[in-house]
Symmetry: C2
Subunit: 374 residues, 2 copies
């Protein structure tokens, strides 16, 4: 790939342009707002003027509702040999391409799983997509050539390609992104109507839980509208869950009463389901990944554990990597779960320091390998 | 304060003990689980044996439902001259202290706004409370002496004391912490039942939004039960919000139709209310804090903005601190909003580098001062 056009010089489009420019591709920038193009160009994302001849790939970095029209227009003008987009909804654009675009074979849908709180070209970063998944949703008409170009784009951005059907993608992002956004907005809206003193008791957890609600309302209403069917399905399930939860918590608020025990069971069941649902998220559970375990015996004396953690700090190992047992007999047993090379260095360093440290045979099960979804 | 007892050697109790021990106070640790005490002592948090004489302050670091019983027992044994707790619900413990504790004047409720995903003594950190708010809820009977001791504890932990009425505190944490936890659990539970491929499209936003749902189910069911009345009130409001939102999104899923416009208005209104509600959170909005603005004129050439950001990187100034205007005439105008000493250095460094940089008169309004809530 030698030449590319990015239509839409916002956060995502400008980040794509920066990454690809850095890799040596000649990038042309377009946006209906000329100021955005000038800022992106001044950032080094590419040229503010259009190309003289069709480019290898056009990336449509516009909101979901605009993909169909921008694609049809670009293909009518014949600006590129292949086309992809970066919108977070995929079934609608695919249908539009199949039925209305001049050349659906040259289009493949795409969605990089990356974003930031800030929007606009100034928030762009060449590294935004590094190690992030980038979903591609080839349609039944997408040509191999267009698909290969999109794969090349993903590689140039340092992202991980994941192939999905557009409908599966949309059902999944409804659960992982669109409905969480609405819930964060519902919660954040309650903050606006909450009691005085609320800001005094707001911790980091709330900032994290409502972070996405700080996003651009216009862009998000566009996204939610484009995936309204899948979003409504999940919202309906949540509404049912909440209809069960409200009377359960009400019962707990009344002292005594026969519903109290049932209320507590409903509550604990929900919390437990939340813990196990969260375990489905990649990176949410520490450990795993074929870590090795090193067992260290520690004397039962004040400060002795602190001395151990100080001894391993130089290897980048912390209390986060440790679990402690305090058997009734005597002494504490600390188990560090660390990558294998670190485990070897840990045993050596601790032995040299006079600690009783032994490797335990691979106690952690590696995660299941990740392959494309049907 | 010279001596202290911490009852409950979990995350919070051990962190308090580590912070106070480091400040030179003699700390005694107690827990119904002797292993937790041994681990905390081995971390350097204090002594595993009880004190010979009453201590200056006893900190009850037990779940909300146990505060009343542990306080009554400790006061019957007369183990301390003052008592406080760290539970995240305050009205129930206060009522119990007023009506059932042997010496309610010696007790003041407390709630440090700090926590971690991990629980247990091994997750403890002396710095956990640093710069965090620590709510104190003196009752109508709390003595000045007990209140002063609690203030001293807050200071030794490096936290910021905030005085509130217990009921106001509980209504506020229902909105900022307890209901967000339940929503995160509801969302995370949906992940467990979501479609295949869901883990491929899960980004950092979802990990953040559901982080709190990874917490200890038993502790959280205890917390939620202890604040069930206030939690149920907020949940009911959310249920109503959701009852309006589901038909709105349903209308958007149907192509055309007269409800579509109303659906879109409902959606945009919710998103906008979320954005403004989130602005109530401290630290959520960048800028403010009496920042000064430096204006820089930048030529409209490819890469020129990148050159500017490279020039200011050494001062710790980034694109995050910048806003750009691209007026129609010519050139770009960049405004950096930075603390005043940085602004002075920025102007000097940019002028020396040949940039056209001028300070603008204090454009940012400082935040309103923070005082105690009535």
């Amino acid at each position: 790939m030698r030449t590319m056009t990015v239509i839409g010089a916002g956060l995502i489009g400008t980040s794509v342009a920066l990454a690809v420019s850095r890799a040596g591709v000649t990038v042309h920038l377009a946006d209906r707002d000329p100021a955005a193009v000038r800022v992106a160009a001044a950032l080094g994302a590419g040229h503010a003027r259009g190309p003289a001849a069709p480019v290898d790939l056009a990336v449509l970095a516009v909101p979901p509702s605009q993909v169909a029209a921008v694609l049809a227009d670009a293909q009518e003008r014949g600006i590129a040999r292949a086309y992809t987009d970066v919108a977070s909804v995929k079934a609608g654009p695919e249908q539009a391409a199949l039925h209305h675009a001049p050349d659906p074979a040259r289009y493949v849908g795409g969605h990089p799983l990356a974003g930031r709180e800030r929007s606009g070209p100034l928030a762009a970063r060449a590294e935004l997509f590094h190690d992030r998944n980038w979903v591609l949703t080839p349609s039944r008409l997408t040509s191999d050539a267009a698909f290969e170009r999109a794969l090349e784009l993903v590689a140039l951005c340092g992202a991980v390609p994941v192939v999905m059907r557009s409908r599966d993608h949309d059902a999944a992002v409804a659960v992982t992104s669109h409905v969480p956004h609405l819930l964060a907005s519902l919660m954040a809206a309650r903050l606006g109507e909450g009691p005085a003193g609320l800001d005094r008791v707001a911790g980091q957890g709330l900032r994290d839980a409502t972070r996405v609600a700080g996003g651009d309302s216009r862009l998000w209403s566009d996204i939610l509208q484009a995936n309204a069917g899948a979003v409504a399905d999940v919202l309906r399930e949540l509404h049912t869950d909440l209809s069960r939860l409200v009377p359960a918590v009400d019962a707990l608020a009344r002292s005594g009463g026969p519903d109290r025990e049932l209320g507590m069971r409903t509550l604990v069941d929900l919390l437990d389901r939340g813990v196990s649902g969260r375990a489905r998220l990649p990176g949410a559970a520490p450990g795993g990944d074929g870590r090795h375990t090193v067992r260290v015996a520690v004397d039962d004396r004040p400060g002795e554990l602190a001395r151990l953690f100080a001894a391993v700090a130089g290897l980048g190992v912390t209390a986060e990597d440790a679990a402690v047992n305090a058997p009734a007999e005597a002494g504490l047993t600390v188990r560090f779960a660390v990558p294998q090379p670190t485990a070897d260095r840990l045993v050596a360093a601790l032995a040299a320091g006079g600690w009783d440290a032994v490797p335990e045979w691979a106690a952690h099960t590696p995660r299941a390998p990740v392959g494309p979804v049907g």
